[in-house]
């Protein structure tokens, strides 16, 4: 059996382990433990009756479905964008490259009110849509746009370094063997990008499912129609229904946990296939 700790000449083990474990416990583990403890003290039966309402199932389904659509959009667009940034040169490339990270740096509430201002019926794009006979803000389509916004950088940022590392000779070999460019892209390049792209997809999905700030402004928050799951937690808390909030919170925690497993599985799978992500 491997020893628990290999002896190391580098000092600071006690201090760094102490700080890490104390802060991790206090900031992350204790609060999450409190949620699970609350769930256990409320009891599974009560949690289930709290969760098992049409309104909550509808909101969980809405959150998950739209997050999935947004992550799929970001997967396709993110890979394309990463390719453009890594391989093409055009004026403004640097600016675009920097701007991709904007959704990470821009506070979600700012993104939320800005998107609403644009896509509401009296906004620039909203008015356009109104003329064409449909609404964007205050419909699931508006939620989709907000979720695309917050998840935009993930796929690009995971795929771009992989493209940078691709050996051009592989593409040349493919061409000398008679493949046209499209064939090379589909059968040589894409398989190399797939693991990183899937990691980005999973990260983007996880972020979208839990997203709150950018969505609640544009969603309109109509029960059974445009109400996302995190909003229901806030509503339950405002009603002092801690059991209800705990039930949805645990459900979402389980979903995030499953996604974390998915991300790890993708990484293990890809490491086995190509050696890195």
């Amino acid at each position: 059996m491997r020893p628990i700790l290999h002896r190391s000449p580098i000092p600071g083990l006690g201090l760094s382990a102490g700080i890490t474990i104390t802060m991790l416990s206090l900031v992350v583990l204790l609060p999450i433990g409190a949620l699970l403890l609350k769930g256990a003290s409320v009891g599974f039966g009560t949690l289930w009756t709290e969760i098992n309402t049409a309104r909550i199932w509808t909101s969980l389904w809405l959150s998950f479905r739209l997050s999935f659509y947004a992550a799929v959009f970001n997967l396709v667009f993110g890979v394309t964008l990463a390719w453009v940034l890594a391989r093409y040169s055009f004026p403004g490339r640097r600016i675009i490259d920097a701007a991709v990270d904007l959704p990470f740096a821009l506070p979600t509430a700012v993104a939320g009110i800005a998107l609403t201002a644009l896509y509401a019926p009296n906004g620039a794009f909203g008015a356009l849509a109104k003329e064409m006979g449909f609404k964007i803000a205050y419909t699931p389509l508006g939620i989709f746009i907000a979720l695309v916004f917050v998840g935009l950088p993930f796929v690009t940022r995971t795929v771009q370094p992989v493209i940078d590392e691709i050996d051009r000779e592989v593409e040349e070999a493919s061409a000398t063997l008679g493949a046209n460019r499209l064939h090379t892209l589909r059968h040589v390049i894409l398989p190399m990008l797939a693991p990183a792209a899937l990691t980005g997809f999973a990260l983007s999905l996880a972020r979208a499912v839990g997203e709150y700030g950018s969505v609640i402004f544009i969603a309109g928050n109509l029960p059974m129609k445009t109400e996302i799951a995190p909003l229901l937690i806030v509503i339950k808390l405002e009603e002092f229904n801690y059991a209800g909030a705990t039930a949805i919170g645990i459900a979402m925690l389980v979903i995030s946990f499953l996604m974390l497993l998915l991300i790890n599985a993708v990484q293990v799978w890809s490491r086995r296939r190509i050696g890195y992500v």
């Binding site: 667009f77 990470f104 821009l106 506070p107 800005a114 460019r181 997203e211 919170g249 925690l253 974390l260």
Partner: protein
């Protein structure tokens, strides 16, 4: 040169120029609608009644209190998370022990927990109706609906940022330099400050930058724990929400514009660091 036929060959490793042009325009069009338009909208709405109205709305007592609170929260939570990030990265990269992968998973946990769930967890830990929270409220130190809760919520959502940036860089740099310094008789702190820190300073700054941007802009987790008391526990993003819901559009978008400028500064510094110190920042561009 007159012998060569006047044909320009395209390298086999690129796409035809026409395809490139179409893809580039398509990508820029999508980004224009999704990224740049909202950004322009923030400043357009903020300045819709002129510069004076925008500046006047910032000078409001509640807006000033919100700015002060947000700065306080960042000033406490970012250094604490930086200390944690350095300690965690040191522990993970300088020693070999069992359960390291599990520890990394735990540190990454806040990335995949919804901010609202994070806020809920803090309310259930330190709320006035819990054992610990009730005792603290009685002692005169309320956590939830007060500053400590907001700091805790901000720390939760930004917890992995610094460690995430440092770990790949420190793995790449290995332990040889530290070990060499130790054999030459340097103390542990001396090794850290004169050997490790200069190697990781840019990655550290980068992590702190991202951590700060997120801490100042956090909405979901803070919304749950803050109680939204005007002038007391309303941070900038919370105040933006309250102003927006009261149809005080200019004030809401002006405050949003201030946070957007902060995002510009963050991205600008980040790009600068990437160009100047690309070698010191490992290729970890996950967030």
């Amino acid at each position: 040169m007159s012998d060569t036929p006047n044909i320009r060959f395209r390298p086999v490793t690129t796409e035809p120029a026409l395809v490139q042009g179409l893809v580039i325009s398509g990508v820029i069009a999508v980004l224009a609608v999704l990224l740049f338009a909202p950004l322009i909208a923030v400043f357009y709405e903020a300045l819709s009644k002129g510069w004076f109205a925008a500046v006047a709305s910032l000078a409001d007592k509640e807006s000033l209190a919100a700015i002060r609170l947000t700065l306080t929260v960042a000033l406490v939570s970012v250094p604490l998370n930086a200390v944690f990030g350095v300690a965690a990265a040191w522990l993970i990269t300088k020693y070999d022990f069992r359960g390291k992968a599990f520890l990394i998973t735990l540190i990454d946990l806040p990335f995949s927990v919804s901010p609202v769930v994070a806020g809920l967890c803090i309310v259930l830990t330190f709320g006035a109706n819990t054992v610990v929270g009730g005792w603290l409220v009685d002692a005169g130190y309320p956590i939830v609906f007060a500053l400590p809760g907001i700091i805790l919520a901000s720390m939760f959502v930004t917890f992995p940022f610094v460690a995430r940036e440092l770990i790949p860089v420190m793995i790449e740099q290995g332990r040889a330099e530290e070990e060499a310094a130790l054999t030459l008789g340097a103390s542990g702190w001396r090794v850290f400050f004169t050997v490790t820190l200069p190697n990781i300073r840019w990655a550290l700054l980068y992590g702190v930058l991202l951590c700060n941007a997120r801490a100042m802009g956090e909405f979901g987790a803070v919304a749950v724990v803050s109680g939204k008391i005007r002038g007391q526990t309303a941070t900038m993003p919370i105040t933006i929400e309250m102003l927006y819901n009261e149809y005080l559009s200019v004030a809401a978008f002006t405050l949003a514009g201030v946070l957007a400028l902060l995002a510009f500064v963050t991205l600008g510094l980040k790009t600068f660091l990437e160009i100047r110190h690309a070698d010191a920042l490992a290729a970890t561009r996950r967030h």
